[in-house]
């Protein structure tokens, strides 16, 4: 399930909720991404989404991850709007029978979210604002999944 959230969320609470009531899940992996201050260079991040389109595109990749890694369940929370340093931007949790699938699917989903998911990210700091686009590193990270 993907949920866009406009308010701060507690990743610990999200993980606890995701773990609850499972008797056939042997492994849950999770990732939390936080907004970084970059030594004072970033005072605010702003994330823009295209409602419905963004959820649907992420949903397609979520389904691909479920099929590829044999997941039992996925939860993705992604912030939109203004986000100050220290707050969680993204949370991904994957549930599987065994750990390898859970770890790999979490990694796969984060690589997708960094460079392909329909979000636009603006960084504001003392020198003004700039739009962040995927780096070569982000693209290389995603390419790892295309050959294997």
């Amino acid at each position: 399930m993907i949920r866009l959230v406009s308010q701060p969320f507690d990743p610990g609470e999200a993980l606890a909720g995701f773990c609850r009531g499972r008797s056939e899940t042997g492994a849950i992996a999770s990732f939390t991404g936080l907004a970084r201050a970059e030594a004072g260079q970033t005072t605010l991040l702003e994330l823009e989404a295209y409602p419905v389109f963004t959820e649907r595109e992420i949903g397609r990749h979520e389904a691909a991850a479920v099929a590829r890694f044999g997941l039992q369940d996925v939860l993705i929370l992604h912030r939109t709007g203004p986000i100050p340093p220290g707050e969680a931007i993204v949370f991904v949790a994957t549930a599987a029978a065994h750990r390898r699938a859970a770890f790999e699917a979490c990694d796969f989903l984060m690589d997708y979210l960094k460079s392909r998911a329909p979000f636009w990210k603006k960084e504001t700091g003392p020198d003004g604002a700039r739009w962040i686009e995927p780096t070569d590193r982000d693209r290389d990270d995603l390419a790892r999944w295309e050959t294997s």
């Binding site: 295209y50 389109f53 992604h78 931007i89 979000f119 636009w120 995927p134």
Partner: protein
């Protein structure tokens, strides 16, 4: 008439985020932008900018309905 949505840096270039533009096809819409806002038109030419019509990505010219929604999407980055 189509409802046009701009995301990310494209909205900064144009100075608007959402507006109606008279056009019956995507090609006509691009033509209107080329005439009315050359800076936005140039920004839309970047190969990484993708276009969605009624929430589906398109790569060729398509017909627009009177209530179509056209979104121009610059390179995406989440997380």
């Amino acid at each position: 008439m189509a409802r046009v949505l701009l995301f990310g840096r494209l909205a900064d270039v144009a100075g608007w985020r959402e507006r109606d533009i008279p056009a019956r096809t995507l090609g006509e819409l691009r033509g209107w932008i080329a005439t009315e806002d050359p800076a936005l038109f140039e920004a839309l030419q970047a190969p990484a900018v993708r276009t969605a019509v009624d929430q589906s990505l398109v790569s060729l010219d398509v017909d627009l309905r009177p209530d179509s929604e056209v979104a121009f999407l610059p390179p995406m980055s989440g997380g």
